[in-house]
Amino acid sequence: MAAFVKRYGSLFGMLAIVVVFWIALPDTFMTARNLLNISQQVAMLTVVAVTMTLVMVTGDFDLSVGSMASLAAVVAAVLFTRDWPLGAALAVALAAGVAGGIANGFLVAVLGILPFVATLATLTMFSGAAFVFSGGKTIFGRDIPQALSDFARAGLPLGTAGDKPLLLPALTLVALGMTALVWLLLEQTTYGRRLYAIGGNAEAARMAGVRVRLLRLSAFAVTGFGASLAGLMYMARVASANPVQGDGLMLSAIAAVFLGMTVTRDGQPHVLATVAGVLTLGVLDNGLTQLQVDSYVRQVLVGAIILAAVSSSAIGRKALRLR
């Protein structure tokens, strides 16, 4: 029984949240349009959280993803103001993300600095760099290419609901693509299995011939890429770039990965579990807004629900051990 609770407890909790909203908002919650909205609202967080899963698998984490997201958007936007072509500006911004990730990986995996300290330092540096490049300004309006904001509003037509077309949002597609990629990488390749081995016991993995340093470094590089991609998606969605706009992604992404870990059999981070965590956060925001729950109460509730999920999983694990 304890095993059952541990394995499925949080999953039932997540489903219960959905069911409660469904009952409380019979007309507007479980509609295709609303669900597609939620998928678009969590697209940026999904990209950050699934790539964050990679570093958390090896037992590290990355505090700099939020400021990297802000920095990438600012880099692209500044290049737009200098009349760079769209593709080139985006490529430079993504490259900046990978470079930042490699820097994090170098500090943590090669120099051996604690991830908390190393990425806290780079968080501050990336954030400072975003202010330097933008001069502290919000870049918006004509400086942001129309194609970018058009992209954020576009989507694959799925049919119609009522008299309006129903679109699978482009940002959702990007998030789905990134999720599929990371899932393949982590769950279906030797690379992924080696990352889990490092997370299990880095020393044993090293003895077994796994190139621990290089792999940990590469995980940070992927996380950096994810953070910059999310930053660009954010810029497309708000049609502007400012030096702090992505900062909030970091805590939510870590929360999503932890929330996800409560539904996995082995208590390890897994990509699809992380997505479940992201969706839980997104559904809570959407449902509680529609129920007109005060935004500060909403924050308290979201925190309490994360705690409830993590503690029910911890209690389950303890019971398993006692058995």
Partner: protein, 313 residues
Amino acid sequence: MLSNLTRRGFAGSLVLATAISTLGQAAWAEGEKIAVITPYLSQPGTQFYVEAFQARAKELGWEVNVIDTAGDVAAVISRMEDVATQGADAIVLNVDPAQVGAGLDAAAAANIPVFGMDAGADPRIKANITSNGYAMAAETSVYVANRIGGAGNVVMFVFDAFPPVQVRGAIADAVFKNHPDITVLDRVTPDVSDGGIADSRAKMEAILQANPEPGSIKAVWAAWDQPALGALQAIEAAGRQNEGIVITGIDANPQARDAIAAGGNFEASVAQDFTGIGTTTADTVARVLKGEELKANVIYVPTKLVTAANAKE
């Protein structure tokens, strides 16, 4: 035992959730549903006009839902989509509309009128209700120019990243430029992450160090009150409060009013009528809900110069 515990936990959360939803349902049983969405609720000005809006809304019998996204602009779009799905009668925004275009589209698709409360203009916004930033900056920069007899060095504190504050700086630039004997010694953008006073003070201390001669700085013009207060602290800490350096701010927050009333270097500020902005926004929403077509898409609420003569009002 354990499974009981956990089961009870779930039952508890279900009851809680049902209770929340019942509360929510009860909240929008009657009256027009108006959503107020802002990333900036914790800022003092925002609180004033949101409260004034709520007060007038109560008289009008509306159900107001105030949503704060704690600085997250993308979340404003998300909450606009949620509110559009849920079917509100009007949305009031307190964020630059240029950044929430996708949300404005969602509201337009659901035929929900959107209003700006000190937000910014956009064709998809019925009206933006705000103070005239150009006029406010003109009041204080002209005050400075007159007080120093149109000659001397002036330090400016600006914040061009935030469009409503940027226009203030642009006007002050023009006024000072129009006086050939006024020199802008420095145009400082303080770090505002700590509220703006501490960093402005540090910046001003450095400028005072660099200009030790009495009379080498005639005035400090700040685009809002916090840098003015920081500059005042720096001047007093440096013991240079008797050189006649004139300081002005904008917004006339309570701390600034106290400083102005004390009769020191901080001489003037401009009071926005936050309460008036909130009330006028509610009245404008009411006009549109009644079917009126608005001609002007920006509605200015008058402001007032605050000096030692009226700072205690």
